[in-house]
Symmetry: C2
């Protein structure tokens, strides 16, 4: 999606991450997976995504290591496919939470938030923030060039 013309991956982490989850529907599929959905039919009915696109996105996410495809069998039913988040998939919770938090702050819906962020241990409200190495919350952050300095991307 954002790979360069010569085929080499970008040194930019944003571009490389968006190569995996930047396609339409991908982050919504992951969001629903974070809510516990695992089946083709759940994603289809929960998101209204076209089934051919859903097939393609699930395959992309499995290949990228975000989802793990496993068979399951309910009593009296034949074997079917289910999709489970890998550790990398669970890691996307931070991205999803950042998107939710930005929407709440700068583009709130008229009916209130559809999702809330909570501490799973206590149920108390939680949020995403910048912290330093000692876990102290920082007021802001700077994104500076790293070792693979970027001139183009």
């Amino acid at each position: 999606m954002y790979t360069r013309a010569d085929g080499t991956p970008s040194t930019c982490q944003v571009a490389r991450t968006l190569d995996i989850v930047g396609e339409r529907w991908s982050l919504l599929i992951v969001r629903n997976a974070l809510r516990g959905q695992t089946r083709f039919s759940e994603f289809r009915d929960g998101l209204g995504v076209p089934t051919d696109i859903l097939t393609a996105r699930l395959a992309t996410l499995v290949t990228a290591g975000v989802l793990d495809k496993r068979p399951y069998r309910e009593p009296g039913c034949r074997e079917r496919a289910s999709y489970h988040l890998t550790p990398a998939g669970h890691g996307l919770a931070l991205v999803e939470a950042a998107l939710i938090q930005w929407g709440d702050t700068f583009n709130p819906g008229s009916e209130g938030p559809g999702s809330r962020l909570v501490d799973p241990a206590t149920g108390a409200p939680a949020r995403v923030a910048f912290v330093d190495a000692d876990d102290r919350v920082l007021p802001g952050i700077a994104i500076v060039p790293g070792p693979a300095a970027i001139t183009v991307w």
Copy 2:
């Protein structure tokens, strides 16, 4: 992009946020804006984005309140357009940082990171994390249905 067939916006903050920044190139344009780029030619040369797409994305981001379009004039030149992040645009730093951090953790590039996250006050490494209301770092987070409970999206 993710608006429902009847035209009403989704109650899902992820879908509403992606409606604004989910189109191809948008988050890369914002990333470069966070690095200080402001001009059409800087985005074009820095990202390699087609100019017609860049025109469309800048217009979308201005309309959405992420960028502010301002004229500027350098000595001996005529007036030109520049684009500056609004507070909402700066708020996207959290999303960009989450994408960078996920890429570093689960999909690192062979040449090392292209960007690093630092405390702007000290230059020390920083990261994105979940915190509770008292700014204590949490090990994980749950995304639970909010007031506008979601059945579809």
